[in-house]
Assembly symmetry: D3
Homo-oligomer: 318 residues x 6
């Protein structure tokens, strides 16, 4: 292997990839982030789920599937650990069954991570966790452009009398001014909704929207251009709900929607964002109990790998 800058994975020539503790990519488990460029951080919380549950085991599954990832990204031509020092931070504290308190704990625990030199990459957890993570990000960085891959807008006002769930985080984020809406975009929305108003709410709130059918029509290259044009040079937060992907590629999720996107399209879309100024990432809604062949967590691990690669390229340029 090539020389590495700082923290790097266990060498697979020394210890086979099936051995050792399951940190992400078998990176060191480190919680002091002074000399770290990216940190993988689990957020095992799923009390916000309104249908299937179990994304609390998402971080474990993604870490388990990540051990086959190797350090050189040939498609992006980046030797990650020559540029970046990366660690697995472990998990943020949560209180299962208690959303408001968990969200508070997540925000508080995420603030120093966001404020550190490391780019955080969060592993959900249900999509409700993006809200406390955005709050933490906002505390340090102010409003961020949102790059949001998802089958659902997650902009509902609330279920069952106003409560927060995994269907509401970005409504709250808009209300709280956490987002740089003019540069935010939702990509891949599709599937049945409650009424016509649901279908138009994203645009009304100020997001640019690219629905699933539109993405199918225009294809990946145009979509990349559209996202890049929208986000521009603004600091951004990228959130990737695994149900953006078709159930054939990502069965292990809470509210799968048919007519989604392939793994190839998903990976290519992320790669296409090279050069954007993304300050934090999350991938959410991976649910291993519904993922009998573990292809969902494998895809999620690869998306994280592309996030790491984008971040390393950005650092190389600086």
């Amino acid at each position: 292997m090539a020389p590495t800058k700082g923290y790097a994975p266990v060498d697979a020539m020394e210890l086979p990839r099936f051995s050792g503790l399951r940190t992400f990519m078998r990176l060191p488990h480190v919680t002091r982030l002074d000399d770290v460029d990216f940190a993988i951080v689990g957020v095992p919380f799923d009390t916000g789920a309104t249908f299937r549950v179990g994304a609390r085991f998402g971080p474990e599954a993604i870490r388990s599937s990540s051990v086959t990832l190797r350090p050189y990204n040939a498609a992006l031509e980046i030797a990650i650990f020559e540029v970046s020092s990366g660690v697995d931070f472990g998990d943020l504290p949560v209180v299962p069954g208690y959303l408001p308190e968990s969200h508070s704990r997540i925000t508080e625990a995420a603030k120093p991570i966001v404020a550190s030199p490391a780019t955080p990459i969060f592993l959900g957890g249900d999509h409700s966790v993006s809200l406390p993570l955005l709050r933490a990000a906002h505390a340090t960085r102010g409003p961020l452009a949102l790059i949001h891959f998802d089958a659902h807008s997650d902009l509902w006002k609330g279920y069952y009398g106003g409560k927060d769930t995994h269907g509401t985080p970005f409504r709250r984020a808009v209300e709280e001014g956490l987002l740089d809406l003019e540069h935010s975009i939702q990509i891949g929305l599709r599937g049945p909704v409650y009424d016509a108003g649901d279908a138009s709410i994203s645009a009304e709130l100020g997001f640019e929207v690219l629905t699933g059918p539109e993405l199918h029509r225009q294809g990946v290259p145009s979509t990349i251009e559209q996202i890049r044009a929208r986000v521009g040079d603004r600091p951004a937060y990228l959130t990737f709900d695994i149900d953006f992907v078709d159930p054939a590629y990502a069965p292990g999720t809470g509210t799968p929607e048919v007519a989604g996107f392939t793994g190839t399209e998903s990976i290519e879309l992320v790669r296409g964002l090279v050069g954007l100024d993304i300050r934090a990432y999350d991938v959410v809604e991976v649910m291993p109990a519904y993922d009998p062949a573990a292809i969902t967590s494998l895809l999620a691990a690869n998306l994280v790998y592309e996030f790491i690669s984008l971040d390393a390229i950005a650092r190389r340029k600086r």
Copy 2:
């Protein structure tokens, strides 16, 4: 939710989607169809299956996967229950292990449904059930154009000495004059057959045929045009064998064939039929014992959802 015309699903804001009895979309279970626009009807019969068996549990699985469907179809811009009153009729009577008697019972039980104001949408069961359903449809409506999505032509003369199976229903339907053959079309045929005659029989019997490889070459939009041109304004019966879909998207079926179609293509093909005069629908060959992540039944439920949407659009226009 918007106001509804008649029977409509349980409101998910009142009762979460994982609660309550598993009717399709959590519609009321009603068997009197006077003021009903569409009726979901199970046909849990699989004695016609010649390889894997178990489609008798197809209706249960499709109903279970349907509970996440919401009432507004954003792609087709239709608020279904503002236009349509829909119910789950329950299942037709069958005698497991006895094909001829079951077919008789199915035909007799389906006749009043077909004759009612409601558009029936049948959930198989193996593909043999389309024959008694076509007999019932013919009794009221005369010959119908067949829109047939399938990997197989199901036109064999019979296995093992002339017997009816799930490979023979449309041969019988042709022989009995149940179809408006000049306006009928088979889409997606592929996979190995017994001999060259098998490959040409559809055309010889009078069907227009679009094989799987042809559909892959010409794409979805042209195919939609071809189907629409073939069917024209004739009253039609749409039958969808889930093995039209590729095993990656629909593993839970009896005789899967590789090199099939994606979920997106399947949904788009159905949406493209908007405006045709379809009098009855079925989706068949969903087999939950081979569907470990339940993605097959989820896709089938979504196909039914598109059938409901087509029907509601037709009613809105009247």
Copy 3:
């Protein structure tokens, strides 16, 4: 089939057991309980779960597995529906992700059921639901003796700073005076606990306790005698956490504990309670996502069947 008193299952000679909607035993779905002797009631709530989650799908799974149950209990020699009229009430309202509010709704919805002539049999849901159900029972019936089958005492003060979870319901019930402690008993406790205090808390709070190892040593007949002696003629509430059973027999649960009991032992223990004055029952913690062969829900359905049988025998005697 023999003549039946009132509501009874669909006749399997008319409609095969795999057909029709999945109510418990294919009983009528009825919510008016005037002339009903027992009512099956789902409580699909699992926000109290502290490890694996997904018991919200327990009622669906138990109902699905119940369709093979037939009306004559040969072991107890009771033709259930000659004596009892039984229904499936459907599910109680819950708010996923919100324990306090859900518990309130459950209590309110359960009160009229408990106050009706029907004996309620609740299908969980995680074990936290026993608390609001006991509150409802207490409102009508006053303190009840608790017959509690479980691997865990569920008497923790609370996790993570005092919160209610599925590990705390009976602590709360004791504190609120819902139980007739002098006649209450916990059976089957086993597995690692936090400290020595955990192991003695049941007795300190006033329960009689029969640990798992003790039950293994003394056997089923002595245990039945011990329970009967403890409960006597007091009105009782029976709660059965499926993790009482060994993981080989009940893998589909949230916190399985090895060295548990067999299905046979479980069924025999319940049958041995014939003649006790049990006013309400629940079976909880069935989690179908971890039950690949559906044997857990099958066993739970059979336990409910024995509950129904005990109730019918009690009614026959009156």
Copy 4:
């Protein structure tokens, strides 16, 4: 390995047990039975199944699980292939979906096997196949004592208007005089039935009956004595429905019943029959689609192994 008499398995020291074609125990596939002592014969028919289906794949699964069986039965102290020459005959012809015709074909194909010097051991298929097999056995051997392990009596008159299914074979066998009823016994019956008449019909028809609860009470050694006393020295047919076994040990079956027997009890019961004059055996209702860890087919393969051992011991004595 020790010298062998005739046909014997592939030597695992030469070819690992995971290699080669999946005949039972990797025995030669031979259909001429002149110099054969036992023959394994598949009967892949399941159209008689009234609930779950798929036992047509039972023979494939049992063969696949049998490859780890080795030639010396230490418990019974018999080196099978020093005494016996054994083969895998392959499968009998069936017509899926057509019970009467399949039963005819099975009977005709089984007759020469039963009449050969080889002891046949049949692998079902659903339990309806025992009827045509008994017809074939009767044609050569006259009435046979039935040793019947099962959760169900399979003595129903017929479902849905008199039809044969897997719940009726022994009623038909009694009616046709195929059984030596005075020496026949049913062991393990349990679970809910339709009415009190169902529970008593076995005895009324002339069988000795040992219910599941009785067997649990009296234990294996007394049960062995009871069976031996009943059968005496009469030529017998042993039929083993895998649902005799508890679902924890045999989940992969069509109508599992809780409170069944362990694998150990099952094996010991069969071993206890050493010395009886058993002329033919079957094991039925193995359904691999519901057997995710393949423990059901493994147990079935081991039961067959014990049948082979009993037969070899009998031959050694002659």
Copy 5:
């Protein structure tokens, strides 16, 4: 069925496809290859696997999934058994746990097969088996052009100090001069590698390379042209690692890589090679323990079917 030339599958009209022993396509099990045109040969060896293991069960799974294949390939318009006589040879001898010895045994056992008139089609096993198979092929035929479908180049020098694994076979083949490198091509390489050198090694060693991203960009028809141009009229060996395919279509493999190819693309690529002079084929890395719906082995069986078809077309032309 049409008349057949020699050995041919069991007629599905006589014996249903779920019956009989699991040879490939239910072909006769024959090891003398004098009058045979193609032979299916299992190589159940997986000791070369560096991550997941279990491809030793690949041949069993592919054979099991092959039984639904019918003799006429409609896409290529070839009635296979009118032209070809085909058999299932069984498996080659291996010693699990011992790579060098197993490779020797495989080579020795494969040599007479390669030298026979039959075209061999090998079923792996992990990819290390291609090395001893190429050695056998080379012994008779000299260097062969390699047509290599794979996510990985399998050109590593060795893991853990120079050892052979499934990641090294083609490095060894190059070193030993087994390949006609000027006409060899690797197709589909993708996924993370160790360093930039890994990404360029194929070209440096002399292969033409078409990476996964390149194939996604240029599409199937151009790729077919590129392969045909590279291989020309040279005698070739085609090796197909199932991880060429996307995990959605082929989850059951040892080192799945996201962003792969669909089943349709895979089948079309193989069909596009009609007319090339391919002397031997293998499909490797099918791992049934990770293939819960058996779609991987089904796709592998279909790839073999296309290999057989290519071979039959070549024979028809001669």
Copy 6:
């Protein structure tokens, strides 16, 4: 929680048990063993497996299932971490596919662990790993009495021409003088073997043997006495092959044998060894790919928990 002596698990009241990295019991990952009382050590090697493979993933699965274990063993009345300081050492180095070299590496890496103050508890891996572990133990401690729970004696001379596999470790250990044979015992042997010699070899080599049928007959308490009498006060090595347990309780293993023991019996047997002088432990042959409900790894984790408890009790006494 009670005060702890040294290294102890993460507090579940602080961080829920589903969060954090998967070390055993969420103990600290520490490789310096100076002040450690017990160390959990993975040995992810499975190249010795002769049938199913995949035990290399055993340590990951056991660690994942261990997170629900709590620190007080109520059955043995021991607060583990008041007495013991425990860590997860991580995994020993292995070379997949190369048994001799891996065994060497394992021995070398295990030697300092065995020589440390910590009691090692090894997680296999296939059973071949016990051989290099015994070599390491012998280097420091001399011959140890072997307490061997297993369905198989693992005393074969070798497969396929003398090679070491998971069926041979204890033959080698005897040959190399690693064992204190006079005080060694094998418990639970059962299932078919190759010939009569296999059944007697254990006794011939000097082991005391308690076969599976004998253990079933004499029961757990007598067996505990027998083991204690045999081992006496000699320093011992306990090896537990998970296939000692019945497949219903431990399906996830490589060569399951029916008629095994329950989880309860297994746990009670281990508890019964309290007070023996056991210097090292292993649990082997856990194979998660065949363990769909993860009950095998759960049982293995609990066995390890009992080992830890035995060790803590021994330390308390000193």
